[in-house]
Symmetry: C2
Subunit: 236 residues, 2 copies
DNA sequence: TACTTCTGGATTGTATACGTTCTTGATGAA
DNA sequence: TTCATCAAGAACGTATACAATCCAGAAGTA
């Protein structure tokens, strides 16, 4: 196997068959857009019928989603949309705070005109989704913005880790987000693009760090579980 | 769903059924012990026969291994042991250098007597494997040592990422390792345990960093692909 | 000889059948 | 009423059948 073939494998890995799995792509998107709230039961037969495939394909997709922590599989109990605990939520953001600022710095170093243009276009799309009150779509695009920066940094391994953490953040936000608006994002993202356009690595790193701290601090873990608490829990 | 249930899901996630998948556990172990070299073809029928299960179970295990980057799946072409490119190898170690020192620092802060005892016991086992010339087993245990430290740091999300990177390192070492001995490990690991026992966080962080740099620097990427080069490549 | 085309065997991808486990509502006893 | 037991239905886990794809060697052509 030649180096170029190795590279090709590295880049598509196992995505090749995953993007063609309608269960994986469909459920993933629905989760990222918060149309499927945490805890939602995902019965294999229902998904098979909805997507017009056999349970075999459904199970492949669900297993992939489970590896991304977007879905929880319990033996003999089937799949449900993941329900990240406060602890997991905190840890995901701690990991992001560790990885993403470094990525932003490297992205600012490397970014060319095409990269900046793509980022601006994407920010525009985010803005439009917000204006149209499509908050689910806006949230998914907002996450994707972070992934784009990680990709510009051109470190695929770390970018992939970040992509996973960002995905899980959608669920975390669904459970623990306290603010009604995500207007912060728009300003933060634009400021980041500006820094990247100037190739100001230090500034980009600091902006990313503060952006993540901002996000993290807008999470409240004390009441996140209330909707699932039993009456006994709430009375005691 | 209660918080404690969330935690339970978080900890076992999907491991519950994976540890019971003989293909996953068997092939993973063989890869970590370098009994299955990179590129080895993994035909579903062969695995099914060897482990006495149907192809369904084989495919589940292979998909899990693919998500861990230990196995490459190519549509209609089946599975083979992953063959990380020099680039991927470099990136994996860059990610480790970013994450593990921080983990070691936190582990040194948190470690109690039981943790230190477990680490010493483990180091002893490593030592015995080396003495017995079981280099595969020694390598697997050496990786596991790094995972243990990440677990002591008590950040499951990051520990899981590290576990994945460590696993991939076995393949990387199989491909690009230049030195015959891993004696470095023994000294490095013992020094790390000492620092952790003293709860010397700064020292543990620095020891981990230098240990990883040492490992990384012992990799040579220029000749890793030679055995797979075509005659034309080698003559030109 | 070098190259293309074709074909049989092998391998993977998907659907489906069936056994096992779990859930849930009914039944009955305390 | 409350609880335990149990049975029917639903859902999951695994095996297997069949279709689609790939690969290697044979045959044919220049």
């Amino acid at each position: 196997m030649s180096i170029s073939q190795q590279e090709a494998n590295f880049s598509r890995r196992l995505d090749a068959d995953l993007v063609q799995n309608p269960v994986f792509t469909g459920v993933e998107r629905a989760i990222l857009e918060q149309r499927l709230p945490p805890g939602t039961r995902l019965a294999e037969t229902d998904l098979a019928e909805f997507y017009g495939v056999s349970r075999t394909v459904v199970r492949t997709g669900l297993q992939a989603l489970a590896h991304s922590h977007l879905v929880t599989l319990r033996p003999n109990r089937g799949a449900s949309v993941a329900n990240p605990s406060p602890r997991e939520a905190r840890e995901v953001f701690e990991a992001r705070e560790l990885l993403e600022p470094r990525s932003a710095r490297e992205a600012a170093r490397r970014a060319g005109r095409a990269d900046v243009r793509a980022l601006r276009l994407h920010a525009q799309e985010e803005h439009e989704a917000m204006s149209a009150n499509e908050s689910g779509r806006a949230l998914r695009l907002s996450g994707r913005f972070h992934v784009m920066i990680a990709q510009i940094a051109n470190q695929r391994t770390i970018a992939e880790i970040i992509e996973n953490l960002v995905s899980r953040s959608s669920l975390i936000i669904a459970l623990y987000w306290t603010r009604s608006s995500t207007r912060c994002d728009e300003g933060c993202h634009n400021a980041l693009i500006d820094a990247i356009e100037r190739n100001d690595a230090v500034e980009a790193e600091e902006l990313m760090r503060s952006h993540l701290v901002e996000l993290h601090s807008a999470l409240r873990f004390d009441n996140g579980d209330s909707s699932n608490k039993t009456l006994k829990d709430m009375l005691s």
